[in-house]
C-alpha cells in the first residue's frame, strides 16, 4: 500500500487528463503521446485567444434532415408544386437516388411560423424550439461536399471524406484538453428514431484518426454497460477490484524502479482513471438525482436511450467538464413520406432540444456552451415520390449558446431552396467558427502527419463573424 500512497502523492488524483493541458515535463509527455511519433507537435496546442465557449454539444440529426420542412421556408416552391424543376438549378449538379428521374418541384409539407422577438422562422412542428427562438441562430446557407450518408458524415466530422482524419471532437480535446479527470473529454451518445430510417453510423465518426488514440470519442451506450468492459467481473466487488489494481500498480512501480520507463507511470495513472470511470460513468448515467420537474422538462423518465434522455445526459456531461458531447439521433433519411416523418422526428427532438437550452440557461451554463444542431446534408426541393432525395448545395443548421447571437437567421438559399445563395457557410466555415468560439485559431491547430501539417479545416475555412454575439 505504501507504494500506492507514494505514487498517489506524487501524481495527485488530478492525474493525466487534467495534467496534459497544464503542461508537464517533455519526457513524460513524450511517453504519454506515442513515443517519438507525435511528441514534437505539442507546441502548437492551447488557446490562441479568449474563448466564448468552453465546450460543444453537437445535436447531430443523422440521415439528412429536410431544411424545407424545418428551418428554411420556400413559398415559391409551394407555388411551383408539381411543375418541372427548372433545369437552370439542377444542370450538372450531383444527384443521388434521383439520377435519371424526372425532377419536379415539391411544396414544403409543413406550415411555417415566426417566433420570438425577431420573428425567427421555423416550421410549426417545432413549437417548443420556437419558444426559445431568441436564443437560436439559424444558418440557412450551409453547403457540404458529399452526397452519400457515410462519406457525408465523415466530411461533417473531419472536414474530408477520406478515412483516417481526426473528428472535430478529437481535435478539440487534443487542442484544449478536458476539465474532467474521471471522464473522457469527448463523449458520444446515440439514439434511434421510431420511423425505421436508421442509417448506419461508423465508429470512424468519432475516431481520433492520426492524432493519438487517447483523444478518440468514447461511445456511452444506452444498452448494456455504458462503456465497454466497465463492470467488474463476477465475484469481484469494488474493493476487490481496488485490491487488484493496487497490486498491479505496486508491481508496476517495482518494475519501474528497475527500468525507469515513463510509460509505466502513465500506465499506473490510466489504471486509476479506469477505476474512477467505473464509478463515475454509472453515476453519470443514473438520473436518480434529477428532479421530477427536470425529467418532465426533457420529457424522459430515466436513461432510456431516448434522445430526450441523452439531452439531459449531455447537460450532466457538460457540468462534469467534458469538452465535446455529440448526440446522434438517427432516422432523418426521408426519401418517402417527408411530411409525416419529419413531424415524427420533430416530436422526438423539439422538446428535448428546447429543454436543453432552457436548462443550461437557468444554470448559467448556456453562455459557456456552444450548441450545434444539424445533419450531414439537406434534402432536394424536388420530389422523390412523397419524399425528398439527398441534397448538399444548400441546407440548414442552428447554433445556440456561447458566443452566438440568438434570434438570428443567417444566410439564405435561392427561391426554391436549392443553392445556398447569400452568406454561404461551408462545413469548413462551421468548423472554423466552432474552433474560434472555443478560443482556437483554426489555422493554428495543426497536427503533423505524413509530413504535412493537417488542420480540421484543411486549407479552407472562414469564421462566420456575422453570427457571433
Amino acid at each position: 500500500m505504501d507504494i500506492y500512497e507514494k505514487f498517489a502523492r506524487t501524481m495527485t488524483r488530478r492525474s493525466f487528463l487534467g495534467r496534459t493541458t497544464t503542461g508537464i515535463g517533455s519526457m513524460a509527455l513524450a511517453s504519454m503521446m506515442n513515443r517519438g511519433a507525435f511528441a514534437e507537435d505539442q507546441a502548437l496546442r492551447g488557446r490562441h485567444h479568449a474563448p466564448k465557449a468552453k465546450r460543444v454539444i453537437h445535436l447531430y440529426m443523422a440521415g439528412g434532415p429536410s431544411h424545407l420542412e424545418t428551418f428554411d421556408y420556400k413559398p415559391k416552391l409551394g407555388e411551383m408544386n408539381g411543375q418541372p424543376m427548372p433545369e437552370s438549378f439542377t444542370k450538372g449538379q450531383p444527384i443521388a437516388q434521383l439520377q435519371g428521374a424526372k425532377l419536379t418541384c415539391f411544396a414544403p409539407q409543413h406550415a411555417f411560423k415566426r417566433y420570438g422577438k425577431n420573428g425567427v422562422e421555423m416550421a410549426e412542428i417545432f413549437p417548443k424550439l420556437g419558444a426559445v427562438a431568441d436564443d437560436i441562430c439559424i444558418v440557412r446557407s450551409l453547403v457540404t461536399e458529399q452526397i452519400n450518408h457515410d462519406p457525408a458524415h465523415t466530411f461533417m466530422n473531419t472536414g474530408t471524406s477520406i478515412s483516417g482524419r481526426p473528428s472535430m471532437g478529437s481535435w478539440l480535446w487534443y487542442g484544449l484538453g478536458a476539465e474532467t479527470d474521471n471522464l473522457p473529454g469527448f463523449v458520444v451518445l446515440t439514439s434511434s428514431g421510431r420511423g425505421g430510417q436508421n442509417q448506419p453510423i461508423a465508429t470512424r465518426q468519432w475516431s481520433s484518426g492520426f492524432i493519438p488514440s487517447k483523444y478518440q470519442g468514447v461511445h456511452f451506450r444506452s444498452q448494456g454497460e455504458p462503456v465497454m468492459y466497465l463492470g467488474n467481473p463476477g465475484g469481484v466487488t469494488a474493493q476487490r477490484q481496488r485490491d487488484v489494481i493496487d497490486s498491479v500498480d505496486s508491481l508496476n512501480q517495482i518494475h519501474q524502479d528497475s527500468v525507469d520507463d515513463p510509460e509505466i507511470a502513465t500506465r499506473i495513472s490510466q489504471y486509476e482513471m479506469a477505476f474512477r470511470m467505473q464509478s463515475s460513468v454509472p453515476a453519470l448515467m443514473d438520473l436518480k438525482d434529477e428532479s421530477e420537474e427536470t425529467l418532465k422538462l426533457y420529457g424522459t423518465k430515466g436513461a432510456d436511450g431516448s434522445f430526450a434522455a441523452n439531452c439531459l445526459l449531455a447537460r450532466r456531461l457538460a457540468e462534469r467538464g467534458v469538452r465535446f458531447i455529440q448526440l446522434y439521433h438517427r432516422d432523418w433519411d426521408h426519401h418517402g413520406n417527408v411530411k409525416g416523418d419529419t413531424k415524427l422526428k420533430a416530436e422526438e427532438v423539439d422538446g428535448p432540444c428546447a429543454a436543453l437550452i432552457t436548462d443550461l440557461k437557468r444554470r448559467g451554463m448556456l453562455d459557456e456552451t456552444l450548441i450545434l444542431y444539424g445533419g450531414e446534408f439537406g434534402r432536394t426541393p424536388m420530389a422523390q415520390g412523397s419524399g425528398r432525395d439527398h441534397h448538399i448545395k444548400g441546407f440548414s443548421c442552428w447554433l445556440a449558446g456561447g458566443g452566438i447571437q440568438g434570434g438570428l437567421m443567417h444566410g439564405a438559399t435561392d427561391e426554391l431552396g436549392y443553392h445556398a445563395a447569400e452568406d454561404i457557410v461551408h462545413v469548413h466555415d462551421l468548423h472554423a467558427t466552432m474552433l474560434h468560439l472555443l478560443g482556437i485559431d483554426h489555422k493554428r491547430l495543426t497536427f503533423k502527419f505524413q509530413g504535412r501539417d493537417f488542420r480540421l479545416t484543411d486549407v479552407h475555412g472562414n469564421v462566420v463573424r456575422k453570427i457571433l454575439a
Binding site: A30, D150, P151, P200, I201, F210, Y229, G234, I254
Partner: protein, 1016 residues
C-alpha cells in the same frame, strides 16, 4: 572477453552533449563529401527557411533546395555555388565573412554554422560541388562499411554503421540485454508470442552459443508468418467488410492465409509483390496466385442507394493509388489527386497515370455482388472435380442423340403445335398493395397505370368459367406507352415476377408446374413458384415482345360455370422498378395445357415450315429442343437436378476469395481537374509510373499491373527496398531509420542512418529479396541485442533513441496483447490460417449497423481462442477490445499504429470476459502445476507470465492479495462461485472454491502487468 570489453566501454564517461544533437562533431571530414549526407542537412537547417521551397518566405530570390537554385548565376560572375571555385561562390563568401551585416545565417536568426560545417561546405565546393537529388529518389548504392574505434563490439556490418555514428556523437552502445529479455524480445518480434519455457531455458543456458539457434527456430516457426502478416495486413488494409455505409461482409479470408504462408515459405519479396498486384495476369496463374491478386480488391466499396458510379469509380481509383504508392513506395501520392505534390516531384498527371494501372480490374463501381472465386482445399478440389465431371457427363447425355429419341421426337412433332384451347378471363377486380392502378381493356387485358412504384403486389380476382380447369395462362403483353413497349413497367421494359400464387376463398390452390415461352437467364419461370423472394420470372433481353407463362393446377380446379379464384402476383425482388405493365389471364381444361405454349419461336418456325425442306442446322436445333423436353430423358434430368443441388450445397462449404481479373478493355482514365469527378474535361492518360523516375518499357502495349509490379521490385527502383527494410527495422527497434514509414519523400524524415538503410536495402535486393535473411541480419546484430534501459543522460541526449545507443521498449500490438494472455493461460488454439473468427464481443456493439441490421455471434469452441489476427475485422466497428489497443480500422494503409496508453486498455485487461476467462484458466494452471506452497505457486505463475523469477517484494505483493482474497472468499462462497464462472472454460472442480477464486485474483494481476504486455 566480449562482455568484459563492453563493461569497460560503459565505464567511459560520456562525451559532453552537444548544443544541437549530432552537429557538434570533431571527427575528421569524410574523404569524399556527399551532398545528401553532409551538405543538405546544413542547408536545410540553416538556410531553407529563407532560401527554400516556399516562395512566400524566400529572400533575394535565392533558393538552395533545387539544383538550379544552388548553381544560379549572380552578379559579377559569381554563382551561388561555383563548383571547384571558392572565390566565385557567393555562398562561401557569406558563410565565412566577418562582416556582421553580411554573414549567413544572419545572427538574428539565432543560427550559426560550426567550424566543421563550414569546412564541409568548403571541401564540398572544392571537390566540384556534386549535387544529389532527394535521398530516397536516387539509386540505392552499396555504401562502404565505416571503420570504428571499437571494432570488438561489432557483430555484423549493421553494428559498424550504428557504432560509427555513436562514436561520432560521443555516445556508447548499451550492454547486451539479459537472456530472458532477449528471448522475449526475439519471440515477440518474430512470432508475436511470448517464449515457451524451454526456449527461455535454452538461451539462459548459453546465451552466446544458443542465440542464433533461437533466431533460426523462431524464423522457422509457423507463427513467424502470422507475425509478419500483422504488419502486412495493416498496410494493405485487409478487412472482412466493405467499409462504406452498410459495411457488409466480403470474402477475403484466403488472402490472409496467402500472406501468412508466403512469409512462412520465405517467398522472395519481388514475387510477393508481383503476385499481389498482378497474380491474375501471370501466365497459367495458379489458384494461389489468383488469391494473392485479391490485394486489388481490398479497397473500400459501397452499396449505398444513391451512390453514383462515376464518383465511386474515382474514389476507388484514388484509394488504390494511395494504397499501392504507400505500401511499396512510401509515397504520399494521394496528395496529387487534386494538385501537384507540394513537396515531392509527383504531379497530378502521375497520380492518374498510376491509377490507370488498375483500370483493367473487372468490377462494378457500386453494389458489386462479387462473392469471389472458390478456394478449395486439395481434397475439396478433388470432390469438386468429381461433381463437375458427373454434371458434365449427365449434360452430355442430355445432348446426345439416340435412335430412341429420334423416334419419340417424330411422334412429338405430330402434335407439338397443337395448342390447348384457351378461354380469356376478364378479371372481376384487380388491386395493388402499393399504389399501382389498373385499366381493364376490352380484350380482357389489364394495363398498369397511376404512380410509379418500386415494388408492388397485384391481386386479381378471376371467375373461372369451367369445371376442372387444368391451367392458368398469364400473358405478359406489350403496350405502346410502356418503356421499350413493355411488358415491364419500369424503365428497362423488363419485370421480375417474384412470386405467383392462387387461392380460393382462404384456401391456397396448389400450382404444380410453370412453363414459359421464354425465361431470362437466371430468372426461370419456375422460380416464381418457389418461396425465395429474390428469384422470379423475367424476360430480358426479349423485351418489347409478348411472353406467355402457363401455371398448371396440381388438382383440376373449378366447380360449375363460375368459380372465384384469387391470383396474387408479387413484384418484390431486390430489383426495384420491375413491375408488370400489361397482362391477361386465360384458362383451359386441356390435358396438356403447356403444349404449344412453350415451344420457342425459333422451334415453332421450324415446325411450321415444310419438314422436307429442313436444313441440317434446323434439324439439329429441333432435336436439341426436343431433348430438353423428352420424357425419355426425364430420369437423366432428375439425376442432373439432384447432383446439381448436391454440388450447390457442397460449394457452400468451400471458402471463397475476392480476386482481381482483367477486362479486355480497361476503363478510360482522365485527369480529374481538382479531383472533381463531375468534370470530364481532363486529359485522358495511359498507365505509367511517376514521370521523374525510370519509366516502364512496355513498347506499344499498355503498361500493365504486372509491369508495375516488376518496376516496383526491381534493383533500380530507389524506393521499394528502402521502404521495406525501413519497416523491418521499425519492427525490431520500434522506430524506422527514417521515422515516417509512410513517407520517404521530402516531408518524411531524413534517415538517421542513411547509409545503413541503403546497405540493408542493397543486401535485401542482392540477396534475391529474401525477407527472412533481412530480418535475421537485423536481429543478429549487437545493436539489436542491447538492453532497453537507457541511462538518464542518454535519455536526455537522445529521447527518442534514434541513434540506437540502446534498444527500445514498447507495448505489444493489440492482437499480440490478446495472444499473450491466451498463451499464458494455456487457452490459445494455435491453428494457422482459416477464415475470420468471432471471439467474445459485448452484445449490441453492432446496433448501429444497418442494411441489414446484424448481431455479432460469439464463436464457440476453438474459434473463441484463436490468435488476434484472425478476429473478424469489421471496418466501421473494429472489435472494441482490439480497438482499445490501437488496432486500426484498415480503411487506409497503416504503416505505423498509434501506441497509446489509455484507460480503456485497463478496462479491457481487467474486465473483458476474454481476459477474465484467461485469468481463470491461468489460475487453474497455477493451482495444478504451480507447486505446493503459495510462494511456489506465485513464483511459477510470475515466471509463466513474464518469463523471469519474481523478487521478494513482488512475491509479497501477490501473496498479500492472494491471502486477503482467500479470507474474503471463504466468508462469501457465493462470490467465490461467481468468480469462477466467466467464460466457457470449465475445468473439473477440485478443492476449495475460495482458494480457486483467490488465485484468479493473482492471475488477473499478472495479466494486467505492464511488463506482461511490453516488449523490452
Amino acid at each position: 572477453m566480449r562482455r568484459q570489453l563492453i563493461a569497460a566501454l560503459v565505464l567511459l564517461p560520456l562525451a559532453p552533449a552537444a548544443a544541437e544533437p549530432g552537429l557538434e562533431d570533431a571527427s575528421p571530414l569524410p574523404v569524399t563529401v556527399e551532398f545528401n549526407r553532409d551538405i543538405r542537412p546544413i542547408l536545410s537547417e540553416n538556410c531553407y527557411k529563407c532560401h527554400g521551397p516556399d516562395p512566400k518566405t524566400r529572400e533575394a530570390k535565392l533558393r538552395f533546395d533545387t539544383k538550379e537554385g544552388i548553381f544560379a548565376a549572380l552578379d559579377e560572375g559569381h554563382l551561388a555555388v561555383a563548383p571547384g571555385n571558392l572565390k566565385k561562390s557567393a555562398l562561401w563568401g557569406r558563410v565565412t565573412t566577418k562582416a556582421k551585416d553580411d554573414v549567413m545565417p544572419p545572427p538574428k536568426s539565432g543560427k550559426k554554422l560550426t567550424p566543421r560545417e563550414i569546412s564541409l561546405l568548403g571541401k564540398w565546393i572544392e571537390q566540384g560541388a556534386p549535387w544529389q537529388g532527394h535521398w530516397a529518389f536516387i539509386p540505392v548504392q552499396r555504401p562502404a562499411v565505416p571503420s570504428v574505434r571499437h571494432p570488438a563490439w561489432v557483430r555484423t556490418p549493421i553494428d559498424a554503421f550504428i557504432l560509427a555514428r555513436l562514436e561520432r556523437e560521443g555516445l556508447l552502445p548499451s550492454p547486451e540485454a539479459d537472456p530472458i529479455t532477449l528471448i522475449r524480445r526475439l519471440s515477440f518480434d518474430l512470432t508475436g508470442l511470448p517464449p515457451a519455457a524451454a526456449d527461455v531455458e535454452d538461451l539462459v543456458r548459453s546465451p552466446e552459443h544458443n542465440y542464433e539457434r533461437a533466431v533460426d527456430r523462431l524464423l522457422a516457426s509457423p507463427h513467424y508468418g502470422e507475425r509478419m502478416a500483422l504488419m502486412w495486413l495493416d498496410l494493405v488494409r485487409f478487412a472482412d467488410s466493405r467499409g462504406y455505409h452498410s459495411d457488409n461482409p466480403r470474402n477475403v479470408g484466403p488472402f490472409r492465409d496467402y500472406v501468412i504462408s508466403a512469409f512462412n515459405e520465405n517467398m522472395p519479396f519481388d514475387k510477393f509483390t508481383e503476385e499481389q498486384l498482378a497474380g491474375d495476369l501471370l501466365p497459367n496463374a495458379t489458384l494461389r496466385q489468383k488469391v494473392a491478386s485479391g490485394y486489388n480488391k481490398l479497397n473500400l466499396t459501397t452499396e449505398e442507394g444513391g451512390a453514383q458510379a462515376k464518383e465511386y469509380e474515382a474514389k476507388t481509383a484514388a484509394d488504390r493509388v494511395r494504397n499501392a504508392s504507400g505500401v511499396w513506395m512510401g509515397a504520399t501520392m494521394g496528395c496529387c489527386e487534386c494538385h501537384d505534390h507540394k513537396f515531392d516531384p509527383f504531379t497530378t498527371k502521375d497520380f492518374y497515370r498510376f491509377a490507370a494501372f488498375f483500370a483493367d480490374i473487372k468490377e462494378g463501381a457500386i453494389s458489386d455482388g462479387d462473392k469471389g472465386i472458390y478456394v478449395p482445399t486439395d481434397s475439396q478440389a478433388v470432390e469438386m472435380k468429381k461433381l463437375e465431371d458427373q454434371i458434365a457427363g449427365l449434360k452430355k447425355t442430355l445432348e446426345t442423340p439416340t435412335p430412341a429419341l429420334a423416334a419419340a421426337q417424330a411422334e412429338w412433332e405430330k402434335t407439338a403445335l397443337q395448342a390447348a384451347p384457351w378461354t380469356v378471363v376478364e378479371p372481376e377486380s384487380v388491386k395493388a398493395k402499393d399504389g399501382t392502378e389498373f385499366l381493364v381493356e376490352e380484350d380482357g387485358s389489364v394495363i398498369a397505370t397511376g404512380k410509379t412504384v418500386a415494388k408492388d403486389t397485384y391481386t386479381v380476382v378471376l371467375q373461372i368459367p369451367m369445371e376442372k380447369a387444368t391451367a392458368l395462362r398469364l400473358e405478359a403483353l406489350t403496350w405502346p406507352t410502356l418503356p421499350k413497349s413493355g411488358p415491364g413497367r419500369g424503365s428497362s421494359g423488363n419485370f421480375v415476377l417474384s412470386a405467383f400464387s392462387a387461392k380460393s376463398g382462404d384456401k391456397a390452390v396448389a400450382l404444380a408446374h410453370a412453363s414459359a415461352d421464354h425465361s431470362q437467364d437466371q430468372f426461370p419461370v419456375a422460380t416464381a413458384l418457389d418461396s425465395k423472394k429474390n428469384s422470379g420470372w423475367a424476360v430480358s433481353p426479349e423485351l418489347g415482345k409478348e411472353h406467355t407463362a402457363v401455371f398448371e393446377f396440381k388438382e383440376p380446379f373449378g366447380k360449375g360455370p363460375s368459380t372465384a379464384l384469387t391470383v396474387t402476383l408479387d413484384f418484390r425482388s431486390n430489383q426495384n422498378d420491375h413491375t408488370l405493365g400489361r397482362f391477361r389471364f386465360s384458362v383451359t381444361d386441356d390435358a396438356k395445357p403447356a403444349a404449344g405454349v412453350t415451344v420457342p419461336a425459333k422451334v415453332r418456325g421450324i415446325l411450321e415450315a415444310d419438314a422436307e425442306k429442313r436444313t441440317d442446322a434446323q434439324k439439329k436445333d429441333l432435336a436439341a429442343h426436343y431433348r430438353t423436353i423428352a420424357p425419355l430423358l426425364d430420369p437423366v434430368r432428375a439425376d442432373l437436378a439432384a447432383i446439381e443441388k448436391k454440388n450447390e450445397e457442397y460449394l457452400k462449404t468451400i471458402r471463397r476469395c475476392l480476386v482481381s481479373a482483367a477486362e479486355s478493355t480497361p476503363r478510360t482514365v482522365r485527369i480529374l481537374p481538382r479531383g472533381n469527378w463531375l468534370d470530364a474535361t481532363g486529359e485522358v492518360v495511359k498507365s505509367g509510373v511517376p514521370h521523374f523516375m525510370r519509366q516502364v518499357e512496355s513498347g506499344e502495349k499498355r503498361a500493365s499491373r504486372l509491369d508495375l509490379a516488376h518496376w516496383l521490385a526491381s534493383r533500380d527502383n530507389p524506393l521499394t527496398a528502402r521502404v521495406f527494410v525501413n519497416r523491418l527495422w521499425k519492427m525490431c527497434f520500434g522506430t524506422g531509420i527514417s521515422k515516417r514509414l509512410d513517407d520517404l519523400g521530402a516531408q518524411g524524415e531524413w534517415p538517421v542512418h542513411p547509409e545503413l538503410l541503403d546497405a540493408m536495402a542493397v543486401d535485401f535486393m542482392e540477396d534475391g529479396w529474401n525477407v527472412k535473411n533481412a530480418v535475421k541480419r537485423i536481429v543478429m546484430s549487437a545493436a539489436y541485442r542491447q538492453d532497453s534501459k537507457p541511462s538518464k543522460a542518454l535519455r536526455e541526449r537522445d529521447p527518442y533513441n534514434r541513434l540506437v545507443a540502446c534498444q527500445s521498449r514498447w507495448r505489444l500490438d493489440a492482437e499480440v496483447v490478446r495472444d499473450t494472455a491466451l498463451a499464458i493461460s494455456g487457452l490459445l488454439v494455435p491453428t494457422i490460417g482459416g477464415d475470420s473468427v468471432k471471439p467474445f464481443q459485448p452484445r449490441g456493439y453492432w446496433s448501429f449497423l444497418n442494411f441489414p441490421t446484424r448481431e455479432w455471434e460469439n464463436d464457440k469452441g476453438e474459434a473463441a481462442y484463436r490468435r488476434g489476427l484472425y478476429t473478424w475485422w469489421q471496418r466501421t466497428f473494429i472489435h472494441p477490445s482490439l480497438m482499445a489497443f490501437d488496432a486500426p480500422n484498415r480503411e487506409e494503409c497503416c504503416a505505423e499504429r498509434a501506441r497509446s496508453n489509455i484507460p480503456q486498455q485497463a478496462l479491457v485487461l481487467l474486465n473483458d470476459p476474454t481476459y477474465v476467462e484467461c485469468a481463470r484458466a491461468f489460475a487453474d494452471g497455477i493451482r495444478k502445476e504451480g507447486g505446493a506452497t503459495p510462494v511456489e505457486k506465485i513464483a511459477w505463475a510470475f515466471q509463466r507470465a513474464v518469463s523471469r523469477m519474481p523478487v521478494d517484494r513482488e512475491i509479497a505483493v501477490l501473496a498479500d492479495v492472494q491471502a486477503r482474497h482467500l479470507e474474503q472468499y471463504k466468508t462469501d462462497p457465493k462470490a467465490a462461485e461467481q468468480a469462477l464462472t466467466t467464460g466457457k472454460f470449465q475445468p473439473p472442480k477440485e478443492g476449495d472454491a475460495a482458494e480457486a477464486a483467490s488465485w484468479v485474483s493473482v492471475a488477473r494481476v499478472l495479466l494486467n502487468l505492464h511488463e506482461t504486455i511490453t516488449r523490452e
